[in-house]
Amino acid sequence: MSTSREALPVAERVAGDTLMELRDVEVHFQLRTSALARLIGGAGATVKAVDGVNLTLRRGEVLGLVGESGSGKTTLGRALLGLVRPTSGAIRYAGQDIGRLPERKLRRLRRKLQMVFQDPHAALNPSMDLQTAIGHPLRIQKLVRNRAEERARVVEALERVGLTPPEQFLTKLPAELSGGQKQRAVIARAIICGPELLVADEPISMLDMSVRARVLELMLELKRDMDLTYVYITHDLATAKFFCDRVAIMYLGRVVEVGPTDQIFSDPKHPYTRALLAAVPDPDPERQVPRDLPRGEIPDAAAPPHGCAFHPRCPKAFAPCGWEARDLRAMFERRWVRLGEEAYAEEAPLVSALDGVDPGQEEARLPVPSGRTAEELVRLFDAARQEAPDDPIWRGVARVAAEDGAVVVRFHTGVDPAPVPVDQVSVACHLYDPRLRPPA
């Protein structure tokens, strides 16, 4: 059973009027602090799940939102449907700003904007049989007059998604279906009202390998037959490459690179995109495990890195990327992992001031502990630099100097990366900013 991706004429694939436009969309969540902190006082941290996204969605295209956990792709997907309110920015659809609409008006729009969820086992009401579950959107949107009409449309939807014979499935409960069947039921429920936009949040990641292709094929068929527009949210680059026309790579709430699929995959520009591509597991046994993976992990979204969120992990980071005191601490931790416990025991007391440092400090002031001298501390920095001169942090350090009883490390000023157009792709990376680009 094979389906190859039809080579639709390029004009049809790319052109199309604008279906939805996102301008500076931000979705911030207030973190609830612990009970004790609430008693004592003090505000909780803010998680900037989506931190300034500009995107245009064209009718008939498949836009991929690709990112790892914490990238904000799921939150953004929900914001497109009005399930989550943006704290600022605009989402324009059909001449209205969805983010500002009252709930009642939004409900009517839901006919046109639908969602397919990640976990098929949780997306269906366990106590509703398929006929009720799939037909319910019709009732809610008042699109049918009586039960017979509803049943007929449900049967039609079931046939469309391949759950045949439909009569057999009408009375089944979700618990009686397999994962693939459940997901098809979810898709049937999503298309039964005839939507324009379908947001698919990792629709196949919880299905078996041999079933995934089938569901993807179904989604492609439906797109052709019903003239749908998809937003395909995933962390799996392989399926994104196959399925999407355009791809937006997200990291910690921002879009770092967006452009046509073939461009992104053949010539990735942002270092994060490059890393993602290199890390995709491939059953081809000739491929080797990539050696230059970015270090570290996705940072805490409540306290994101200064400047470019990817800079602590980026192998190509340089001066304007947003270096701060926390990066110093991370650098020392890496050093101690390499050198062992003796080095840690000796050096840790010297730099203990880095333990509780606040985010965003472009200047780190380390008081010299009693019994030690400022020269020792400066020598430590020199030794660290000598031991790992290629560590990008050194490109960000402006100067290290002793100043009345403390050693002060100053970094270059960090700049938030703004999207820069390069060919047909838009990249948010200083490496491509002609004003900031490092000297060749």
Partner: protein, 338 residues
Amino acid sequence: MATPTVPPPTLVVAPTTGRTRLRRVLRGIVRPLRESHGVARFMLVTGLAVTLLMVGLAAFAPVVAPYGFNQVADADGTRFGNHVPPGADHWFGTSVQGLDVFSRVVWGARTAVAVVLLALAFSLFIGVLLGIVAGFVGRWLDRALVLVMDALYALPALLLAIVVAFLLSEYVGGGVTTAALAITAVYVPQYFRVVRAATVSAKEQTYVEAARAMGAGPVTIMSRYLLGNVVHSVPVIATLNAADAILTLAGLGFLGYGIQPTEAAEWGYDLQRAISDAGAGIWWTGLFPGAAIVLLVLGLTLVGEGLNETTNPAIRVRRLLPVTIPRRLPEQDGEETR
């Protein structure tokens, strides 16, 4: 070989969804009985038998009881006599006022079952409704309701019932309804808590979000998507509450509140009247009503605990079916010889 004749696929008319749903509900009720085993099964079966016996007595009271609950004389006017010991005429004897104890016990069963059923219905309705609304809506409404419910829950049950019965008796009289409402007040918080907790967690489920994505309003979500999924633990709680309610009712009657003796027979009231008899060596006026209380409470508790063991996924012990793996037969061997 002739090609097998395959009849053309016909559009089979599916059974109406209503019938399948009813079948499903019935199956759900019978399932605990079938799935239980061991101690739980014993509890369930015994409890059900006892409970059904008492409920039968209650339902058929006019037939079973030889006399009325207030009757002190025969049809022809002959008084029964006071403190007549149990015998052929009066199986359980008569009380100090000449009332037939057996009839009082049977009519008392009717009162107890009626009150408890009514109270159950009220408290379920109010508790579940408020629980879902509080859990779903959240914010200040939730906090206010939780405050009220916690306060009710913190008050001693009997005291609360007495106060409510006292207040209501002014307006509604001293009958079954008053007692039922008094008991309702005691048990509403339990259903509220359980349903609210289940709602708060069910609210986060994907299918509820899917309902929102469909355009469902809050009422639709609460009634179609939450209600069926948050009431799983209610049957167990209801049975255990019913057992407790019997005791509360008896307590009310014992203290003189709740059911007035002119309205209906009540076991607790009979017990209270029997206190002075005990000193005089008259045992039948207290023993039988007391035994009836114990029996009904025991029956309901056994049903509740049995249900809990069977349906509560946290403590349920799956029946281990024995499995024997047959020895390998040579012709089935797919192994290479080593």
